[in-house]
Symmetry: C2
């Protein structure tokens, strides 16, 4: 969950948008987005899918980024 | 969720193991594994991670397979 949060935060920062903006785009709550990025939540497939859509990232982008972080 | 289920079922069938066997390997319930494969469940990041580990698949493998199915 720490690694997922780190990758999702990196994707968001690359886009240059705030947690508030991402939350508004996804319809998720800002505090929820923050807790996912801090690795405090275990988000569902649909929540991750929703975040990826708003971040303009594919599941391959996520998978590749997770594997790179896991190997570190 | 339908696509996730389809991909996870494909991974399991490639390994030639039953839902029962996969359930025993992961510690998840057999009926839970079945419902995920039928797209009836919205599994969490940790549940998916657990299934991938037992299926000897990486997050990249999952991401690539999901994107292929999404594009179909």
């Amino acid at each position: 969950m720490q690694i997922l949060g780190k990758v999702l935060r990196k994707f968001r920062e690359e886009l240059g948008i705030s947690q508030e903006k991402l939350a508004a785009m996804t319809g998720l709550h800002r505090t929820y987005v923050g807790s996912v990025e801090r690795g405090e939540r275990n988000p569902s497939f649909q929540s991750i899918n929703c975040l990826l859509g708003s971040l303009s990232k594919s599941w391959s982008d996520l998978g590749n980024a997770l594997d790179i972080e896991i190997k570190k």
